[in-house]
Amino acid sequence: MSIRHGLLALLERGPSHGYQLRAQFDSATGATWPLNVGQVYTTLDRLERDGLVAQDGAPDGSPDGEGRIAYRITDAGRAEVRTWFGSPVGSRAAPRDELAIKLALAVTTPGVDVLAVVQTQRSATMSTLQELTRLKVREAADDLAWSLVLDSLVFRAEAEIRWLDHCEARVARAAARRPTVPPAAATPAPEAAPAGKRGRR
């Protein structure tokens, strides 16, 4: 899981201090992955170095009355958030938690097309599942041990897709109950599906 992207997604909603960011992160993700404030400030330093956030307020970056420095997201930072929401979580390189955290942030960040985020992930996981199935048919047909290992990966990928289906249904139901969409602070990912045309049944 990338703390960088988590903090950037939170800053998309408006400027914040490190302490506020930590509290917002915990509340957005149900405190399943608590951050310490040191991690938050280290990450903010790196984000600033990379031009993705900037200090908000006085041009000299002087702290407010309580000694805290607020940060705001830059255009480059917004682009980075869009890329993050627009790309699937890798099945090997990242722990599964990143996906849960990404979705938790996607539903609470204004202007993110959550259904497009879900679909991007579902397509990527389905591709992995197709490849595992091909391996099973072609190479593991007579090798029970390998076949069972592949099955375990197949069932795991299937569980993820089932969970994504569930997320999609929950998001659609929540959207149906809330007729007006809050004003978008960020434009959705460019490859986003035409969610605006969704019919209401």
Partner: protein, 242 residues
């Protein structure tokens, strides 16, 4: 690549209920070549069964084109359409629709006999189709003397018999256990590899993964398509991480 067996372009299907228009399908495109198996996934009500029914000439689109082996279905007379349905298209539904009073071979030969093929030849074709799905020795059993997986094989043999090159399957693994369900998919996959074109509607990701391509439908719109990844690089996160 050989000419496609199935081509849907801009297919829309509306249902009218008084003043209300419900779009079951909106502007769907799908091309399936011989040798290809395509899966269609989506929540209930997303239009996946409508897509399958239209592809098989069992339902008519409100707009768009449907070509089966080069014939535009919406322009055919009722009789010509019925002939395409009998001769070019094989259906496998969750509800197998086997006739309990007929043996396996009689169930499989029935559609051929209805199509005017002589009884002896129809039964020979049916036995060949049952051999192909691996239950030749059960040809003379009645459906209730067979397991669920064996009955499903009879239904697939019935969909394959004759020269039919378009295979349409709606949740064909229905109530089967996971191992038997996998055998059914293996069979569909093998039939497509042998030159048929297949469309499989399913809500099970594990089953859809047997297909060459997976179409995702949401509220009647094709929102995405996935194929198998072919290298480790595509398993890496595209957005970069910390």
């Amino acid at each position: 690549m050989s000419a496609p067996v199935l081509e849907l372009s801009g297919v829309t299907r509306e249902h009218r209920q008084g003043d209300l228009v419900v779009h079951a399908l909106r502007g769907a495109d799908l091309t399936v070549a011989p040798g290809e198996l395509v899966a269609v996934m989506g929540a209930s009500g997303s239009g996946k069964s409508t897509l399958l029914h239209i592809a098989g000439g069992l339902d008519t689109p409100t707009a768009g084109q449907v070509l089966v082996e080069g014939q535009e279905l919406t322009r055919l007379s009722a009789a010509a359409l019925a002939a395409v349905r009998r001769r070019s298209v094989g259906y496998v539904f969750q509800d197998l629709n086997l006739i309990p009073a007929l043996t396996a071979v009689e169930n499989v030969s029935l559609p051929r006999e209805l199509d005017g093929v002589r009884g002896r030849q129809a039964r020979a074709e049916a036995r060949a189709a049952l051999d192909e799905v691996g239950i030749g020795e059960l040809a003379d059993r009645f459906p209730d003397e067979m397991s669920g997986g064996q009955q499903q094989r009879v239904a697939i043999a019935r969909a394959l018999v004759g020269e039919r090159r378009l295979l349409l399957a709606d949740e064909p693994t229905g109530a089967l256990d996971s191992t038997t369900g996998e055998e059914v998919l293996r069979l569909l996959r093998a039939r497509c590899a042998a030159g048929a074109a297949g469309v499989l509607v399913t809500h099970e990701a594990r089953h859809a993964a047997w297909a060459d391509r997976v179409l995702f439908l949401r509220d009647g719109v094709v929102v995405d398509t996935s194929g198998p990844v072919t290298g480790a690089e595509s398993l890496l996160p595209a957005g970069g991480g910390a």
